[in-house]
Amino acid sequence: MISCKDVSRLVSESLDRPLTLRERVRLRLHLWMCRNCNNFAEQMNAMHAAMRRLMGGADEPPGR
């Protein structure tokens, strides 16, 4: 199983590019079992959404 540190990097990259199938599976498996990383992933997604909102959001929703 990949470590929480690896997961934190993958979560960040998932906001910038589509993950490979292998990465997605490993990430999902880890998140399924790890509460800490689940919280972390939620924080990252919330930050990502919030940054978009700073400029009033949906003008031109960036790709991924």
Partner: protein, 190 residues
């Protein structure tokens, strides 16, 4: 441009200033960039076809002005002792133990939807974004505010994709820590 009413122009200017400030984080630099944008827009009147897209059009011009400023800053940073600027702040690796597990387990921030409606959170986010090390902030705002892809950022700022990923990661980890300190510990609703 000639057809834009005065009050609309003021509103547009406010929007552009906000956009510029988020990226450049300095009022003078932001004002310069917006001024240059409006000047360029007036000179290129033919470039705008009218309609509600004027803001998008102006933002597009401003985006290029911002990238110009970033390029200039990077050249200056490269020749100064700030060259290692992106290693400012805490090394994200320090958040994990030798086995790669969290030293301090991330706590839940609560309902994300509610959080986004919270003024204090958005204020803390803006403040923390403003506190990121310069080069991290450049890459991060181009990605998260302007919405450029990492490929575009790499090309514009002449950095490698790997470096770009690392910088985005560091920026996010830094922002997260700052938010925990400035918002979560003080103003988070229960």
């Amino acid at each position: 441009m000639a057809s834009i009413a005065k009050e609309d122009l003021a509103e547009l200017r406010r929007y552009l200033m906000r956009f510029a400030l988020l990226h450049l984080r300095d009022r003078n630099r932001a004002e310069d960039a917006v001024q240059e944008t409006l000047t360029a827009a007036l000179e290129r009147e033919d470039g705008f076809s009218g309609g509600s897209a004027v803001r998008t059009w102006l933002t597009g011009i401003l985006k290029h002005k911002i990238i110009d400023v970033f390029r200039r800053q990077r050249r200056e940073l490269a020749t100064s002792e700030l060259a290692d600027d992106e290693s400012d702040g805490r090394d994200p690796d320090a958040l994990f133990d030798a086995a790669g597990a969290w030293q301090t387990p991330p706590a839940s921030w609560g309902d994300p939807a509610k959080m986004l409606e919270q003024k204090r959170f958005m204020e803390a986010l803006e403040k923390c974004n403003g506190a990121l090390p310069e080069r991290l902030a450049q890459v991060f705002t181009l990605r998260e505010v302007t919405g450029l892809t990492t490929e575009e950022i790499c090309a514009e700022l002449d950095i490698t994709p790997n470096n770009c990923n690392v910088m985005l990661y560091r920026a996010r980890m830094g922002l997260r820590e700052c938010l925990e300190k400035n918002w979560m510990n003080t103003g988070r609703p229960t």
